[in-house]
Symmetry: C2
Subunit: 335 residues, 2 copies
DNA sequence: TGATATCATGAAAGTGCTTTCATGAAAGTT
DNA sequence: AACTTTCATGAAAGCACTTTCATGATATCA
């Protein structure tokens, strides 16, 4: 009667109630084959009776692992990042791992995370999304043997899921050129905090390359940078008000492409006739608005990241891997 | 020299290196005033030297708190839910709490979580979003003294952030009536899994009430249910092809309202002239597409939930609270 | 100067589990 | 019948901290 009242029965209670030792209870739970069937039966019945559930932290302590993997990400609620998060969550859902999300909104934050997370030992693995990791950080992560997978920012010493931003920019440019455009512009990202990475510069580089190959140039006046959100600023207005404005624009992100699309339409421009627009990312809403874009399969990148992480957790001596996500041009109605 | 090589110095290493006992080290860290200034100085110097960081889980175990709060949510990557998540994350960011996300995608899942999370005791608090909680579940959560805040689904015995769906439906209906509409329809949610809650029925009830007050009725033919996503199914097509179709439709969620908007436009209908549309939620993209809607301030609900949770964590004997989020009609271009 | 209060410190218990190692019984072998 | 394996089980150590309680050393008071 005492046991049934106890709100938190421990393994000791189970042992006592069943007349066995805690070692046997533990075995029945974790290595059932090491226990006789009869005993196993008995243990299970008692467990059900008194409602025993192993305490996670005690288990973690003894096991030297925590059953938790951390995800550190900036803008984790931005559409594209959410898709990634979904991939991670799905990848983790079939395992017994929990997902701890560390939103980072300042440079202090990330430094702090990288410095203390490995030390407090409260995580089995770490997925770092779209954040620059210094050699120092990388060394620290390795020294403290916390398995880490980087998404988007590559580091030679760490597992990485890479996006070939250069290639993506090249694809976008080539596509526009093939469509006959000769005056093309670029919409980049402005005002990104210093701790975030800047993939748009590589997208721009690839874009430039494609133009060069076709003997075209990208005039300074055709390059515009705007904040990473739906509401763009006046610099975009100006670009569209140019006497000789571009006939096509490659936006470094879908979010901005959508902002651009809206402004263009407000100005009475027909898309794609007057102005072709191609984005990058393929966020969920891209399909809704019919945005032509370069898909980088965010969901898949997240899922891949956890698969990579899990495989390393199982076999820690595996070589560091650098996977590349396949880019894909999705043709819709804006270009 | 041994200490400096050890990648994970423990409190014992600090004790040995400083010639003090682990008890004193612990005190110097947690109750500095209980230790002589000289000793404190000495301890700190050694800690810095060998790079000691207390292991979080060991600390949690001894302290009986974990520094972690759990968020269980369905569809946690759907636009509206993400906004809520952002509110929760922001609310938590100024604290030392970590956010563990438990995505639920099956009924088994939620039952399982509610039954085991409190028992494994690896969480200080729990925020349950948009999930039905039975009396049994509620009792269990209380018995096992895990502080819980429910969002959207109210329970008398637990803290709740409520949304007045009935009132929202009423507001939507009243607005359409005031605009002169007499033939109004309703777009509800179909195919929601059984573990999710169904706020749309209350939204519908409120909507009906407003119609009744104006002497109007809602014909069966004007009620349509479609999946909770951007791509709606043919039932919506049929509604719009009715000989005498409604002049206005209240969609139970913004996501569906946007789907409806797209279909209407594809059919050549002018919105709002031919068909007025009003949604519910005010997701981020609602502003982009100019959707008139009932805002339920998802972000705020999340933030409020953590504030409520934190205040209860500090003062556990506080009475259970039931907060109501203020709804707000946001007039844009679709109605 | 002897008795008492104050204070910094250390020893040890507690936290709830896993796992190694030892033990004794049953089964198999010759 | 004596001996070796095999197998289920229990005792106990280990995980890395916090905190209570006891102790001995000072400081305080009469």
């Amino acid at each position: 009667m005492k046991q049934t009242k106890d709100p938190f029965p421990t393994i000791y209670d189970v042992a006592q109630a069943s007349g066995l030792s805690i070692a046997t209870i533990s075995r029945a739970l974790n290595n059932p084959e090491k226990v006789s069937p009869a005993t196993r039966e008995r243990v299970m019945r008692v467990i059900d009776e008194i409602g025993f559930v192993p305490k996670a932290d005690a288990r973690a302590r003894a096991l030297q692992n925590t059953g938790r993997i951390g995800v550190v990400s900036p803008f984790f609620t931005a559409p594209s990042f959410v898709q990634r998060l979904r991939g991670i969550a799905d990848g983790l859902s079939s395992t017994h791992y929990e997902m701890v999300v560390y939103p980072v909104d300042s440079g202090e934050h990330i430094k702090h995370y990288i410095q203390t997370l490995p030390l407090t030992r409260s995580l089995d693995g770490l997925i770092i999304v779209s954040m620059a990791v210094s050699d120092d950080d990388a060394r620290r992560l390795r020294d403290y043997q916390i398995e880490t997978v980087l998404i988007e920012f590559p580091h030679p010493k760490l597992n990485t899921i890479e996006i070939d931003d250069f290639e993506g920019g090249l694809m976008a440019g080539q596509y526009l050129i093939d469509k006959g455009h000769r005056q093309v512009g670029f919409l980049g990202v402005a005002g990104l905090p210093e701790f975030a990475i800047h993939p748009e510069s590589r997208r721009l580089a690839g874009f430039r390359k494609s133009l060069a190959r076709a003997g075209l140039t990208l005039p300074e006046a055709y390059i515009c940078n705007a904040p990473y959100r739906l509401e763009l600023d006046e610099s975009v207005q100006k670009l569209l008000e140019l006497a000789e404005r571009p006939t096509a624009i490659f936006a470094a992100t879908d979010l901005q492409a959508m902002g651009l699309l809206k402004i263009a339409r407000e100005k009475g421009l027909c898309v794609p006739e007057d102005l072709a627009i191609i984005g990058f990312d393929d966020i969920d809403f891209a399909d809704y608005v019919g945005l032509t874009t370069i898909r980088q399969h965010m969901y898949q990148s997240g899922k891949l990241a956890v698969e990579l992480l899990l495989s390393r957790l199982k076999q820690p001596d595996l070589d560091v891997q650098h996977l590349k996500i396949q880019l894909e041009l999705v043709e819709r109605n804006t270009a």
